[in-house]
Symmetry: C2
Subunit: 235 residues, 2 copies
């Protein structure tokens, strides 16, 4: 946790209140902060501040903003990922948010187990968004969309996301050309499920405007591929 | 698992034997392969083959090599990481191996909890190396070294690893210059613990030949930083 992210309602009065047990414990037990110490506070979807601890009781910490700080810019990227299994999903959401993905879209695909759409984690995405923002020092939650049907997404939604200066890149192990590097424009990147997209899916995305590239001759796990690819594209 | 990695002793006769329960189950239950089907087999630290299933019983699968395949090249990088907590360690080892790190060094640092050195995972590193190789389709296990004392490592070992055409880059959130990108030479990269290296440690590494760079204004988790950084450097 590199900032403590508060809801706007907790940051309205002169003193702001940290009362989430997870955040309270991190500050008291892990960081061992006291009255007079400073820490970084974010107000969700608003701004980020350096703040000073003014009062502590057994459940709450009162802080006062000292100075506004710069929020890290988002990457100009929409990340489309085939829904991974629940454990991976949590880390994927956290990492994508930490890395600054502007918009995250989870889609179905032939090799996505249908049971993954029933995971309770999908109801708790916002919690993992918060953890990702707190790690990065960011306050702006990216938009997250879910599409449980592959074909309508690829045929109706994806083409609208593609423009000349905003291409869509599909990372596919068996493509012939290597993924671009160090680009200076926005893009959509698409990453398949464990086992990859099936040929029909790759063809459908290609026919709907995607450019298909490989990421080298090592096959990466979904989460590893996301951070590796973002490092490569937006270095 | 994108290849099934066998020990050299399982690949000596005309028919090779897959008998590890984890591998057997993956092939039978997950991939649902049968006699006559082909799969990728690696012989550890030797070579990789396309092979055909010749016989299956309740515990073993016999395969015969059909054709040798190319092994993905390693990245010319030594990765030095402050020992993370055990859960992260497993994924870090797996991912580093999958991404093709040539040598992995785990070191102590002020913010590494001393209990981390007692984790049983440190006795099982080879298992996570195997999983990383099987994910990548690689057969060559990287060298792994452990240094439980920071200062002797930085003063005695690290300088020997640095040459003009083989610099050492320390990723540090508060550095002034951004990490290089798309390099065409070997290097050592150093990544700190959760909470970062302390200023004394950063200075000691600098004084022993490290170049200190930031990775942007988002603070990444150790594992995310590793794949992001490798994507950035070796795109």
């Amino acid at each position: 946790m590199n900032i403590v992210l508060l809801q706007p309602e907790d940051g309205q009065d002169a003193f702001w209140i940290i009362q989430q047990p997870r955040q309270y414990q991190h500050i008291i037990q892990h960081l061992k902060l006291n009255i007079g110490d400073q820490l970084k506070i974010g107000i969700r979807n608003q701004a980020r501040y350096l703040a000073e601890i003014k009062k502590i009781d057994a459940e709450k910490i009162w802080v006062q903003p000292v100075q506004e700080e710069t929020i890290p810019a988002k990457l100009p990227v929409t990340l489309v990922v085939a829904l991974p299994r629940p454990k991976v999903l949590r880390r994927l959401v956290m990492d994508s948010v930490t890395l600054g993905v502007d918009k995250l879209i989870l889609i179905h695909s032939y090799r996505v187990d249908k049971s993954y759409w029933q995971t309770p984690f999908l109801q708790q995405l916002d919690h993992y968004v918060t953890l990702g923002l707190e790690q990065a020092g960011d306050v702006h939650a990216p938009e997250i969309q879910l599409y449980q049907r592959f074909k309508p997404f690829v045929e109706d939604i994806l083409p609208q996301m593609i423009q000349i200066d905003r291409p869509a890149y599909l990372a596919h192990p068996y493509a012939e050309i290597a993924m671009p590097q160090t680009i200076d424009h926005a893009c959509t990147i698409i990453i398949g499920p464990e086992g990859g997209f099936i040929p029909y899916e790759v063809d459908l995305m290609k026919n709907n405007g995607c450019q298909v590239y490989h990421l080298g001759n090592r096959i990466l796990r979904t989460e590893t591929a996301v951070s590796y690819l973002l490092g490569r594209l937006f270095a």
